[in-house]
Symmetry: C2
Subunit: 275 residues, 2 copies
Amino acid sequence: MSLHPFDAAVCLSPSAGEPGLYTGASSPDYWNMVGPFGGTTAATAIQAVMQHPARLGEPIALTVNYASALQAGAFSVQATPVRTNRSTQHWTISLSQTDSAGMDSVAMTATVVTAVRRETWSVNDTPMPVVGPPDHAVRFSFPGGVEWIKRYDIRPLSGLIPNVWDGGGEDSLSLLWVRDYPARPLDFASLSAMSDIFFPRVWLRRATHVPVGTVSMTVHFHADSTQLAECGDGFLLGQARAQAFRNGFFDQTAQLWSEDGTLLVTTSQIVYYKE
Amino acid sequence: MSLHPFDAAVCLSPSAGEPGLYTGASSPDYWNMVGPFGGTTAATAIQAVMQHPARLGEPIALTVNYASALQAGAFSVQATPVRTNRSTQHWTISLSQTDSAGMDSVAMTATVVTAVRRETWSVNDTPMPVVGPPDHAVRFSFPGGVEWIKRYDIRPLSGLIPNVWDGGGEDSLSLLWVRDYPARPLDFASLSAMSDIFFPRVWLRRATHVPVGTVSMTVHFHADSTQLAECGDGFLLGQARAQAFRNGFFDQTAQLWSEDGTLLVTTSQIVYYKE
């Protein structure tokens, strides 16, 4: 049985005798324009924490900062539990690559909070929008597109990527169904990656194709591993919108629900854009 | 002329010969129930970056992780520029305190991204809600309340803290005017603190007073120092709501606009709650 491309992309090997130090490699299967898909980089940070033998609980918060585009090839990741409380644990993560001159440089920093969750009063205050089922939607096909987009089954419902780049955008809201392609059971790593699945809001809002790059993404997890397991390899409903575009940076907020309407993730990112 | 209490609270002294290492002290003026107001802790992270001689540009993103409640007394903060690009810079920040047994422990970690902004196409995609002016609203008075709340002029418009804790909450949305008390010209530090001004959404949504604590807060800045200076010491309009409450943690997203309708900050946090 061959490895799913996502598992290959986020595979980390522990370094003997150095707790929390892992080696991995950027994935050609998830290549974007000038580096790998930022979602897999976010997933790498989560993966380093999930594999750490000292981990307490499960992720509730992730912030990943994209310090530079990853190059093709190997990288190292260090995950450090800087504070362990009774039911929460605070992590710092750093990903480095060695350049052709032999210099190490930081390509990503992250912080993660893990926690032991206990059953409490709970309520979903953001009901899933009413939409048709994934079976009634059509997979987005982007001939000649970048690699990573082919690793997802994305079924747009509204707020499509513009067909005509005429500067006529009016809104930044998108709705879509998404899952891995081929399908793969959901876990914290893949959920982190899918938090970055939405194409840049500035393209939609302006119907203008400008250079962009995510600078920092934060993910708040509202589900535990049992609830993720219940999602199996089903579709998630994603919704994204921007709040402000100003002098080179815009924000992008999003939600991901399971098909049965459980809000799994709320996320926001700040994205560089040119012009 | 005496120092404004906020300036005293976020005052940091550089350590000779150790770039980016500062000492400060938690502020009694901004005391919360079991430690200082988290907003001043967030502001301390920004302040360490703003004072650093190697800083490039101005803050566009901040994530602050509250690893433990700060104690009364001194702390040290280390701000490190881990990657400097042509127009962006990535920072890691760590705040430590020495306990009574002489042990150093991490009480806060943060990451900040600073950037040089250039004028581009811009649009405010989240217009300010239509509300009456601050002059027509009444300052919130909370007799016997915690110290930090007295350092703000908060004028609630809707979604007040419940008068009757009867478990009857239906909504998590609040609107309010806010500025420092006494008034103080806005800067990145005070804007970071005000991002944490909203009382816990779980109290509003449930009309039940349960123990809470912010675990992690992310702030995305949509304004530069010139725009902040234009705000002077005027009021900001704040809006906050939650998206999900689940098994011990809920999120809280918020926006802050200048009185003239410029969206200055979008922010989200994840908060622990008991029961």
